[in-house]
Symmetry: C2
């Protein structure tokens, strides 16, 4: 359900190809939505059949033809109605935490290494988000409403990565603390 709406939200007032959408998902929307190329193409076909989007075929020199999609009025209504509905928090299925839960079965170093690997990853993500923040949203108070909306989602990404980095430190400290003397 929500992938359809995420595509509509990403299209916004722009006209994009399936490939453009996929690029946008992998580069800009990773901190709130993830979708594969295949999923996007499938969903575009469906949305077009429903009348929420329409496309124009564009021929290119030396490149495959592409379908440029844009939202229809019907699609816009669909998106606006959906925004007004209450939504639940996303389900959490975090493998690392399951591994931590069962880590008393393995040497402490095994899980500590895995946590360190993850922390590095979150540090890299954070750095990328902070760069994006300073480059694209240099003066938050002066942004247009549309840009403010984007900036708010990025702020969530930054907070999430920070939270992970701090948790990794805490987790390792607890795991390496002296066992109770008894």
């Amino acid at each position: 359900m929500a992938l359809a709406h995420t595509i509509l939200a990403t299209l916004g007032n722009n006209a994009l190809s399936g490939y453009d959408l996929w690029k946008n998902f992998s580069e800009c929307s990773t901190h709130y939505w993830q979708a594969s190329q295949q999923q996007i193409y499938r969903e575009l076909t469906k949305l077009e059949k429903q009348g929420a989007i329409s496309f124009e075929m564009v021929a290119q020199a030396g490149r495959p033809d592409k379908k440029i999609y844009k939202m229809t009025n019907q699609g816009k209504v669909m998106l606006i109605d959906w925004i007004a509905e209450p939504s639940s928090p996303a389900a959490i299925r975090e493998e690392l935490l399951v591994k931590v839960l069962a880590s008393h079965l393995v040497p402490v170093t095994t899980i500590v290494k895995e946590i360190q690997r993850r922390q590095k990853l979150h540090q890299d993500n954070l750095a990328a988000y902070l760069t994006a923040a300073t480059e694209k949203f240099a003066n938050p108070a002066q942004l247009s409403l549309e840009k403010k909306c984007m900036y708010i989602t990025l702020r969530r990404g930054i907070r999430l990565e920070n939270q992970w980095i701090e948790w990794c430190d805490e987790a390792i400290a607890i795991l390496q603390s002296e066992p109770p003397a008894n």
Copy 2:
């Protein structure tokens, strides 16, 4: 894949029925894994066929019979091997952030109300996690390794809820800030 391992991790050294597992998932594991009753029963059948778990039928007076499952040695090996594999962060598909992204299409109050509703929810979750922390993990330094592992997952829950609460405040502040004068 990972649901199977989460069931194994939850079983640990205990013997539990499908119903017990479901209760455990909904009460204790919500902050790192969510699964429906149906999913759990389906997965238990599969794991039993694979030899990772075995069950004993237990008849009860005035209650339906139940199957008490426990991990086999094979299951334990499977779990330990899995822990050693590197794992990727969970995919994020957060509807609220998509709504924020597209919220320039609706009145500001619409999205602000939804963010406030979500903040209340996270405040309630946080309160429940903090209660669990003081009741079950009163003296973190003195915990057994197994309990430490559980405590670490709870700490992530606490950090996540705090992060949400803070983000909600920030998001509302940005949305309600004066628009640029031009």
